[in-house]
Subunit: 193 residues, 2 copies
């Protein structure tokens, strides 16, 4: 019973163009950030992030120094942004509630660490997409907790086309992503697609 | 017929705590940014933004210098972040397709400019929520197009509790916000709500 509750969907993934990761990030999902440093690995839940540039593929994200991941990412200068789907919601909350100081979250939440190709931080296999990132600007960390990351390699599931993601509102409330529509597509100027 | 197509819902709004605007912004909706400068007013559509702090209530957002709003916000040091609901989707696309250099977008898209209380930029009445913002850090505009804004006053509709928002994926595709759920709430540690 416990085993079947833990039987998560496995995604078949392929390389995804780094300049187009907005497809999954711009709609604003909670993400899981994985990191590694000196033989240790960790995961944090993160909701404060934004796309900053297509090429190079830049992401800005806020990480408080209270997080165990803060120093791991700052020192290793690498991390992976993983996109969890709604079936991982309980794990996302659990990951946000616990600290990597106390537990190995991969083990505790039965998530699979996979080797990334361009960074030392692990990918989370059970997530829909994984963006391997290098910390390219650390000058805003002290003032704003703002990490400027470059996505150097991206992996995304081939099906479904769009993941069902969870979006945090605070106060224990999630919005779950709904319908995807291109019915407004003909209204866009081609150069604005 | 045209009149009835243009008959948009009017929201009854009340003051909303600025430290809690994440409720509407963190899930990642497309927003409309209104500004005013030297007797001119403008609106732009924006998808690249993030919450950066609760108190002061900080938002980071990316605006390219190609936008007519770029200089208006940089010079006036003010703007309003407005949250449109899905019934405004066609207008949001039209606003993104046109430039304030050529048209008054309030007139063209039949949106109502309302006086804000703490900034000179107008609120958009037809939007679900309006966040009056001051530009508090312009030092990252040249390097990253990053405007750091402080929300100094917020207005939000009292009903529905959560707006049905549109979230852009690029390529002419919107994700429309789905179900809101607090079924994971009991899993959160109280201090993490």
């Amino acid at each position: 019973m416990a085993a079947s509750r833990d039987a998560l969907r496995t995604f078949k993934k392929t390389d995804f163009p780094v300049s187009n990761i907005r497809r999954f990030l711009e709609p604003g999902p909670i993400v899981l950030v994985s990191s590694a440093w000196k033989g240790e690995r960790n995961i944090m839940s993160m909701g404060w992030h934004m796309v900053m540039e297509f090429s190079p593929s830049l992401i800005g994200c806020f990480i408080t120094s209270a997080n165990h991941s803060f120093d791991m990412i700052r020192r290793s200068k690498e991390c992976v942004i993983n996109i969890p789907t709604v079936d991982l919601a309980a794990k996302v909350v659990g990951i946000g509630n616990s600290s990597g100081r106390d537990v190995d979250k991969f083990a505790k939440f039965r998530l699979t660490a996979e080797r990334a190709s361009k960074v030392g931080a692990p990918l989370i296999r059970e997530c829909y997409a994984n963006f391997e990132c290098k910390l390219v600007d650390s000058s805003l960390i002290n003032k704003y907790g703002l990490f400027v990351l470059e996505v150097v390699k991206a992996h995304a599931a081939t099906s479904p086309k769009y993941p069902k993601t969870i979006h945090y509102r605070g106060d224990g409330v999630f919005m779950i992503s709904g319908e995807n529509t291109s019915r407004f597509r003909r209204r866009f100027k081609p150069e604005n697609l």
